[in-house]
Amino acid sequence: MQEPAAPPTFKVAPVVKVGRVVGRISKKHQESAQRQISRAVMRWIDQAYLSTDQSTVRHAFGGFSRDMKNRAFHDRSVMSNAGIGGITTIVPSTLHITTDMLGVKGLPAGATSRIELRYKTIGDQRRHVVVGGRVSLVHDPHGWQVISYDVHRGVR
């Protein structure tokens, strides 16, 4: 019988900022979009990479569109820690999320978040991990959803 997985030792304080804004978006809508986009991206990062419990990894992709949920789960060896077994503790060090936005008629219509996450895993294997790349999101009736990803993960 395995011991229950320990929670992450601490949550990293993300550095979240707006990058390039193409087109006009009011300040109010820009801030609101950034909050919602960051929430969707953070949900994935937090549950996929900063959680020791990989049994619920499918939930990490809750902010992804229906098609992307399936594809991300299929790619979970990169899109999560699923490929690293026996993790007892995760020590995050940095997380940067920079979001470029497309504005049309004063409203945000599309966004691309560029991410970089660094953390250390402790357990059966001690690993230094860097995750980087970009995810793009569009706004639909369900809110901001990830519609594409291009992610790389290096493990040392």
Partner: protein, 299 residues
């Protein structure tokens, strides 16, 4: 005594060895080999293949772009799972049955029934119906190529044109800005294969555009700029979110997995018009090949 001496010598040797042999701690790394895994995907609405008809309209300033003749016709199929893409070029003089209007040159189809009818006509020829029809005009095409910083194409034959481009395009890898890319895609009289060679040049330019998009997709704001440029220069009824998704589809194409063929045919003369009678079976084979995995096996 002899045994005692041997033990003493052995002890000294072990002690010296203990001082000189390094312990088992790992030395600081001076090199590292790190395995990088990648994952890439784009939402295609649950369909593996996405078909887009790209049309270069020959509308002059002031003319309705979507009710003019289609000068450049390329049906593009993208496999959103593998990043493979197939481009099927159709000569504009192809003599085909236009639904509801009878036989005519294929480029007249947009005059009769707009982009939808042109999409159906080409879909019937190739055996695959496009989901999207993108129509642009000369100046808009120039603007779009300039917006991505020009393109690099591999030109197999030097050629020029007295009207469109007097400076010859040299053989080999050449960089084309917007106007030159437009001229490179339009010139046919000075090419040995005429309309067929022109279609091949259109495919070269299209592949170069996709390559540029893929190269620059990671640059901050590039896709957003791209969508804005497209919205200004393309006739489309799609919303910006849908265009953003299609921009990502283009950015996920793997340039080395692009295959292309031009539908060949016999040259003829009908009612005083020079026409191409397209080889329909070859066109269907390209469509069938690409439908499976986004790749045309051979032309």
């Amino acid at each position: 005594m002899k045994k005692l001496l041997r033990i003493l010598v052995l002890t000294v040797v072990l002690a010296v060895l203990g001082l000189t042999v390094p312990d088992s701690t790992v030395r600081p790394a001076e090199m590292a080999l790190v395995k990088i895994n990648t994952a890439s995907a784009v939402d295609s609405g649950g369909q593996d293949m996405l078909w887009i008809l790209m049309v270069g309209s020959d509308a002059r300033p002031g003319e309705n772009m979507t009710r003019s003749r289609g000068d450049a016709l390329q049906l593009v199929g993208i496999n959103t799972r593998t990043g493979a893409a197939a481009a099927i070029g159709v000569p504009r003089d192809s003599w085909v049955d236009i639904p509801g209007f009878g036989y005519s040159k294929i480029n007249a189809s947009m005059v009769y029934g707009g982009p939808q009818l042109l999409g159906r006509t080409i879909g019937n020829l190739v055996g695959v119906q496009p989901q999207y029809v993108f129509v642009t005009r000369f100046q808009s095409f120039i603007n779009m190529v300039n917006a991505i910083g020009g393109v690099d194409v591999q030109n197999p034959t030097p050629f020029s044109d007295d009207v469109l481009h007097r400076d010859p395009f040299p053989r080999g890898k050449i960089h084309l800005k917007g106007y030159s890319a437009m001229a490179f895609s339009r010139i046919r009289h000075s090419l040995p294969g005429g309309d067929f060679d022109r279609s091949r040049n259109q495919e070269r330019v299209m592949k170069a555009i996709v390559t540029k998009i893929v190269q620059r997709a990671d640059q901050p704001g590039f896709l957003a700029h791209g969508v804005t440029t497209v919205m200004k220069n393309l006739d489309t009824n799609l919303g910006p979110g849908e265009l953003y998704r299609l921009a990502e589809v283009a950015a996920h194409v793997v340039p080395s997995k692009i295959t292309s063929c031009v539908v060949q045919g016999s040259i003829g003369d009908i009612a005083g018009q020079s026409v191409v009678r397209p080889y329909v079976s070859a066109a269907r084979r390209y469509g069938n090949d690409a439908r499976r995995d986004g790749t045309i096996k051979h032309c």
